[in-house]
């Protein structure tokens, strides 16, 4: 794959390294000549000096044949524009933008950016996974299908403890995929599987029925 990375900060630097190691053709676009020099000295001809938001620069580096453009500068607006230019001027099939402000995910999605990555959200999600007051966490979202893979932990005191799966009032759009008991070992749930305290349940659900699913699994 030919992947273009815009922004040679820490994220861009390590991303470039990792993608090169995976054997992709990768090019980093960076404005700062000093950063370009450091990267070229270390990794060879994999860095282009220029503004990754400029159509002319993107044309020069052959964005037209790129499979993916990843914009990871520190500024949301620059990442947005870079992805938009790649999409609209060069028909790049997949664009990924780093965002600082998690709220921007909505706008970016509306404007056709395929994937947004927010470090704030990622950290929040790992906090949620650790903190029992947030029993439902997102593991993966399938944006185009409006589905999410979620992880629900059964806390002590849940009214569903001791019930079997078939007795749960699950919303129609939700499916239980896996139950991981606190002692470990994953099981595929059957209608007769009993819910225990500390179980970790991996389920697939639509956004809408998330709350219903949580209620069904943990009781009111």
């Amino acid at each position: 794959m030919y992947i273009i990375v815009v922004g040679g900060g820490r994220v861009g630097y390590y991303l470039l390294k990792a993608l090169l190691n995976e054997g992709h053709e990768v090019l980093l676009i960076e404005k700062d000549p000093r950063i370009c020099k450091t990267i070229t000295d270390e990794m060879g001809s994999v860095c282009f000096r220029g503004d990754g938001c400029e159509a002319a620069v993107l044309a020069e580096v052959g964005t037209g044949r790129a499979d993916m453009l990843v914009a990871v500068t520190g500024d949301d607006e620059d990442n947005l524009v870079s992805c938009q230019v790649a999409k609209h001027k060069h028909n790049v099939p997949r664009t990924i933008a780093r965002i600082r402000n998690p709220l921007n995910a909505v706008l970016f999605k509306k404007l056709g950016i395929d994937v947004t990555v927010s470090s704030t959200d990622i950290i929040l999600e790992s906090i949620e996974r650790e903190v029992p007051t947030h029993p439902l966490t997102h593991l993966l979202t399938f944006e185009d299908k409006d589905l999410a893979l979620v992880d629900v932990k059964i806390p002590a005191g849940s009214t569903t403890i001791g019930k079997t799966v078939k007795d749960l009032d699950l919303p129609r759009e939700s499916n239980l995929a896996l139950i991981i008991p606190s002692e470990g070992g994953a099981r595929t749930p059957t209608p007769a599987t009993v819910i225990n305290e500390g179980d970790q349940i991996i389920a697939v659900t639509t956004r809408e029925s998330e709350d219903l699913l949580r209620a069904a699994l943990m009781g009111a």
């Binding site: 030919y2 053709e25 090019l27 001809s45 282009f48 052959g62």
Partner: protein, 138 residues
Amino acid sequence: MEFKKVLVPVVGTEADEEAMRLACRLAKKDKGKIWSVFVVAIKRALPLDAEIESEIKKAEEILDRVESIATEEDYETETDILQAREVGPAIVDEAVERGVDLILMGIAYKQRFGQFSLGNVVPYVLKNSPCPVILYQQ
């Protein structure tokens, strides 16, 4: 100094021819081997293995010319076309790979924006070469 393996990067200027003559004279004494290479720089708009016929034809003509210079000097050279994103690193990589003990390149006097300019290939080679470098400026 012994010159068992000499690399002569060429670009198609007259300076190349003089550099080639000099390489022949230097290598002859030690029965050294001379490689002349032409680097085709491939723009990012194309994949690295793209075959640009016009460039390859040009490269072949230039390499034929230096080969005939070697013959005139009663010596011989092996020729090769390299494809790379940038010329400087390609020359240095080739020198490392072949383990040459001399890079000999001819350069033409050039101006850029009204000022003398070495371009970016020569400084790169001088900075990163694994072996001695001789520049011949015409």
